[in-house]
């Protein structure tokens, strides 16, 4: 009985010590977090004041060049129409949080509150709460950096979204809208890649439809900026289809993909020429690799004469790139053993 009590007391004492240890050692709140908390608990917003006129050339200058009152006026102009949109809210807060800590290292949270109060008195506390959440989210990212690097993509995604929803609630979906869209596109490409060969047209149509659905009216702008990357992404995903085609079929399929992705006639013509050049290059690589293998595997290895023969062949087949290919081989890299990705290399 005594023995049991002794164990019980030991366990209880250990647990108490552990609890105290956790309390003492848990990461404390920093000054900025305390400032956020204090202002939000007090619920005080900067009193409304009459703001100065909008500076004429404000779009040509950095926000921090202006007085606090002028900044508030510029923010009204810049973000006022969309201030209910969480993506606009976070963009505005980020813009302020980039430079305010540099200019007001000791009390930037208070200055932030003042600016928000002047600019959007009815929303100031909501915006400050969002700034606090963003600050805490960034701290979370920092403290978990090494951990997330070693996670699988799915596990990392789950962890990040859990924290985003915890801090920002449903607004997280709008704040990380671009990431969500790109994730949907990435998942679509992954599904296409994993599907069996065949139905290339349907795959292309599915992909184009996904892009349009995700980006809506932003689609033309997206394509203007990222047409090549998005086209290349699709090419990589349909290699199974492209590999089983004849040269002629493949040429026509590649052209159709590029056309569907919005490339104009001039671009399509340039691509036709490049594809032909690459086809010839790959054939030359194979020819050269066979010769090289034949010379290097013969009894006694390659002679100086053989090296000379290969040099000549490289120059004939690869022109100005011959010396570069020689450098590559000296470092152990042989282009002919690269995997061919149709439409990409």
């Amino acid at each position: 009985m005594f023995q049991n009590k002794k164990i019980l007391y030991t366990v209880l004492t250990s647990l108490i010590l552990l609890f105290i240890g956790i309390l003492i050692l848990r990461p404390g709140k920093d000054k900025n977090q305390k400032d956020f908390e204090k202002i939000l608990n007090e619920g005080k917003v900067a009193e409304s004041i009459e703001l100065p006129n909008l500076p004429e050339d404000y779009a040509d200058h950095k926000l921090m060049e202006y007085s606090i009152e002028e900044i508030a006026r510029i923010l009204q102009e810049k973000y006022g129409k969309n201030i209910d949109n969480p993506a606009a809210q976070i963009a505005m807060i980020e813009e302020l949080m980039k430079d305010l800590p540099k200019l007001y290292p000791n009390d930037w949270v208070k200055v932030l509150n003042q600016i928000l109060g002047y600019a959007f008195p009815d929303k100031a506390l909501e915006l400050l709460r969002m700034a606090e959440n963003l600050y805490n989210y960034n701290r979370f990212r920092e403290s978990n950096m090494s951990k997330v690097g070693l996670m699988s993509d799915d596990a990392r995604r789950a962890m990040m979204w859990k924290e985003r929803y915890r801090l920002f609630g449903e607004k997280a979906d709008q704040i990380w809208a671009m990431e969500k869209k790109m994730t949907v596109i990435g998942d679509t490409l992954k599904r296409i890649k994993e599907s069996p060969a065949g139905n290339l047209d349907a795959k292309l149509s599915n992909y184009a439809q996904t892009l349009k659905e995700q980006f809506g009216k932003e689609y033309p702008r997206l394509m203007e900026n990222k047409r090549q990357q998005l086209t290349e992404g699709f090419m990589v995903s349909v290699q199974k289809d492209l590999k089983v085609m004849s040269y002629g079929e493949r040429k026509s399929a590649l052209r159709e993909i590029r056309q569907t992705m919005g490339m104009d006639q001039a671009a399509l013509n340039r691509w036709d020429a490049l594809e032909e050049e690459r086809e010839k290059n790959w054939q030359n690589q194979q020819k050269y690799a066979e010769k090289r293998s034949q010379l290097s595997t013969k009894k006694g290895g390659m002679t100086a004469e053989d090296e000379k023969q290969l040099d000549t062949m490289r120059k004939q087949l690869f022109g100005e790139e011959a010396d570069i290919i020689k450098n590559e081989e000296a470092s152990g890299y042989y282009r002919a053993s690269d995997e061919r990705t149709y439409g990409v290399n």
């Binding site: 779009a59 040509d60 200058h61 950095k62 921090m64 060049e65 810049k78 973000y79 129409k81 969309n82 993506a87 976070i90 813009e95 980039k98 430079d99 800590p101 540099k102 200019l103 960034n138 990212r141 920092e142 950096m145 090494s146 997330v148 690097g149 070693l150 996670m151 699988s152 993509d153 990392r156 990040m160 704040i175 990380w176 671009m178 990431e179 790109m182 702008r221 900026n225 047409r227 090549q228 990357q229 290349e232 590029r258 001039a266 671009a267 340039r270 691509w271 490049l274 100005e320 790139e321 570069i324 450098n327 000296a330 470092s331 152990g332 890299y333 282009r335 995997e339 990409v344 290399n345």
Partner: protein
């Protein structure tokens, strides 16, 4: 307007132009290609390489005032490509892949030339890509080539990992700890990537010649491959260094990258040597300052009240032969950006404004005709 006023306006305009203080970055003449370092473009320790946490790439321009997923510090008509190559490979492999990606982009867009900004190994890949493109097109294709934190003369970290120094159980494991789990994807060769970043040929018995010294001889600074060459150098004291790099730096190895000698005289994997003082702001957690200058040394001028801008540090001179910089070019801490190796890309923790940093490089490229 009277002539005095006209002169004053002209003077102010000239001042603004020469100091680079103006509204964000001007549009570059040629598109800008961003070349990433080790690890995949869209997954460096779980973060976007040249981007922020919202999935925005620093080269994405804003087309409307209220657009949010874009870089507001660059021109609304800026053209840029985030090129993606094999995460872990030698620069012979990655440089050729980068040349292919650039050729694809030029074919799709009709661009006649490009500028390249390469971070870390991306700056080394860019040199090879510029040479490949020169050979393919029979003319100069790259206008400005800017490297950021690139180990042009090797990194002691790479040799330490290959040597399996204390605390390193395997090359792959060490690279995963530093750069994330993309190393486990197919097509990667972590050993080739590490051998690339050692200055000398790592092994004299493997029948191949690897390392930065040979690579520099083959793909040196060369105005027929690119019209302008410049580099930004990073270093930071240990206390502020990224936790992953800090662990490597303090727990495993100290780079001590601010001593001069030609070649790798102390056999640590990088040209030059240390000065014997640990942690005195002479490396960025992965690369010593004596390894990073290529062409001009560029100075990053941060400004809270105006847009940041880049200038050339003319006092240190130009590194035209990457294997033979001067003592000052290897040891001077002048114009060194006080950030660690991963701060200048999208990895926290930092207060570094990547969007404005790369915007200032774009604007500098414009001033160099690109």
């Amino acid at each position: 307007m009277n002539s005095k006023k006209k002169n004053l306006v002209c003077l102010l305009a000239l001042l603004l132009f020469t100091t680079g203080v103006h509204a964000g970055a001007r549009k570059t003449v040629y598109p800008v290609v961003f070349a990433h370092g080790l690890s995949g473009f869209d997954n460096l320790l779980g973060y976007y390489y040249f981007g922020n946490d919202y999935g925005t790439f620093v080269g994405d321009p804003c087309d409307e005032f209220l657009e949010t997923a874009c870089n507001g510090s660059i021109s609304s008509s800026q053209k840029a490509l985030a090129a993606s190559v094999a995460p872990f490979q030698s620069s012979e492999v990655r440089g050729t892949q980068l040349a292919d990606r650039i050729q694809n982009y030029m074919t799709s867009t009709g661009a006649t030339k490009v500028n390249i900004i390469g971070h870390s190994q991306g700056g080394i890949d860019a040199r090879k890509a510029a040479a490949v493109l020169r050979a393919r097109y029979g003319r100069q294709v790259v206008h400005a080539l800017i490297s950021v934190s690139s180990p042009h003369r090797g990194s002691p970290t790479a040799k330490y990992i290959l040597d399996l120094g204390p605390g390193v159980t395997s090359v792959i494991d060490a690279l995963a700890k530093l750069f994330g789990n993309t190393i486990y994807g197919s097509g990667n060769d972590g050993v080739a990537a590490a051998k690339q970043l050692v200055y000398n040929d790592y092994s004299s018995t493997d029948g191949i010649t690897t390392g930065m010294k040979a690579f520099n001889t083959n793909y040196n600074v060369n105005t027929s491959n690119a019209a302008y060459w410049g580099s930004i150098i990073t270093a930071q004291d240990s206390i502020n260094t990224n936790p992953a790099l800090y662990l490597l730096k303090e727990g495993f190895y100290n780079i001590d990258g601010d001593g001069y000698c030609l070649d790798d005289c102390d056999n640590d994997g990088a040209a030059g040597k240390g000065d014997g003082t640990r942690g005195n702001n002479d490396d960025d957690g992965l690369v010593g300052i004596n390894s990073q200058q290529m062409g001009d040394r560029l100075q990053y001028n941060e400004c809270a009240l105006c847009f940041d801008w880049i200038t050339v540090n003319t006092s240190l001179g130009y590194v035209s032969n990457l294997n033979a910089p001067t003592s000052a070019q290897m040891t001077s801490k002048s114009s060194v950006v006080s950030q660690d190796h991963l701060d200048v890309v999208g990895v926290p923790p930092d207060t570094f404004d990547e969007e404005e940093f790369y915007a200032s490089i774009l604007d500098f490229i414009v001033s160099k005709g690109g």
